[in-house]
Symmetry: C2
Subunit: 223 residues, 2 copies
């Protein structure tokens, strides 16, 4: 019967979530490549082989964690991106990304750090991963910034137009390119701060970060 079948299925879904939660907890302590199925199972009071009912292999669990992390970051940034003007939303989106990263350094490293060796990211992570750039593009669209007078090389213009067609038809290629610059800048700063490259210069980097985000907003053409 429907109700009882879903009872089993609901238990199953719940345990799958508990496994991911526990794995995430371990991630925060130990880092992605020290993450072990056995110890996840141990902390849940199960035997390690039981996890194989839920994830066919360790890589699949990792993939689930990666998707969760992208989505957690996406949620955080989307709900941070509020403000009276598009420029204000841009700035708070950037700050939201940084805040989330500082609060979840290992999850951040899992998605924006060096790839876990031997692990090949499947296509499944793409939709979750693209939430941030899509959000950034939307904010810029709302601002109706004028096309910049950059001269793009033909190949670059083609690449950017191809992406823009998918997620933001009508976005000028020059603006699209500048968004990508800002996007790489944003995560470049966060990674540098988190991975210790800024120690000795602008660390802690709150002020530096907000300065840079302002300049990015100027660069893109936010009023």
């Amino acid at each position: 019967m429907g109700a009882s079948r879903t009872a089993r299925e609901r238990a199953r879904a719940e345990l799958a979530r508990e496994i991911r939660d526990e794995a995430r907890r371990q991630l925060a302590v130990v880092g992605a490549d020290r993450l072990s199925l056995r110890s996840v199972a141990r902390n849940l009071g199960m035997v390690s082989s039981a996890l194989y009912r839920y994830f066919p292999s360790k890589d699949d669990l990792l993939t689930a964690l990666i998707i969760d992390a992208y989505n957690a970051l996406g949620d955080a940034v989307e709900s941070a991106a509020v403000g009276a003007s598009p420029r204000a939303r841009w700035l708070s989106a950037c700050a939201g990304a940084r805040d989330w990263a500082l609060a979840h350094p290992y999850e951040y490293a899992l998605i924006y750090g060096s790839p876990v060796p031997g692990y090949k990211a499947p296509r499944d992570t793409v939709p979750a991963a693209t939430r941030i750039p899509i959000l950034l593009v939307r904010i810029v669209l709302d601002a109706e910034v004028p096309a910049a007078e950059d001269e793009l090389t033909a190949g670059l213009a083609a690449q950017v137009e191809q992406v823009a067609e998918l997620i933001a038809p009508g976005l000028p290629a020059t603006v699209g390119t500048r968004i990508i610059v800002a996007w790489t800048q944003l995560f470049g700063m966060i990674s540098f701060e988190l991975f210790g490259q800024l120690v000795g210069s602008v660390d802690p980097s709150d002020e530096f970060f907000s300065y840079a985000c302002d300049r990015m907003a100027d660069f893109i053409g936010f009023p």
Copy 2:
């Protein structure tokens, strides 16, 4: 006697180098955290315990590799940074960094990727790590770019002035700050390309990269 003592010592230094070379070779295949002392020893035809005559622990070997990587990158960028004008040197320095990274992805990941968990970078890596920013600053100094009319917050200005005093006395804080922005941007782009974040947008990213470096040069104020 001097000559014979150095014979032993030279053999020692040479083997230490061979160990690092072999470790670097493995790094390129397998990634930093799969790197194993035993397999390095194996490939050198030694027994694993013999390595302990040269490196007191695996972490020390890793440290040596990190320093080597910073220096290799530093050498590459310094010798790439040539050109008629400071702006040309800036652009070719950036391109040199990217080229080196693409040619040595695992060494790049070792120094600019997420830190190896459990490994704490000792102070010894600092001089090698700072070569790049110092080079960038020198190029900007040569260009004698005027101070930007940014308003920096007091804390940020203080941070930047403190660094500038050490490596570039007289550098205006506004320019120093913009260099740090460009520096994070540069490695942000390289990391994004290398770690697969640009797949689906501007990958391969030669044209994007050179566009962005031009904008960075404008931003800093290169003529």
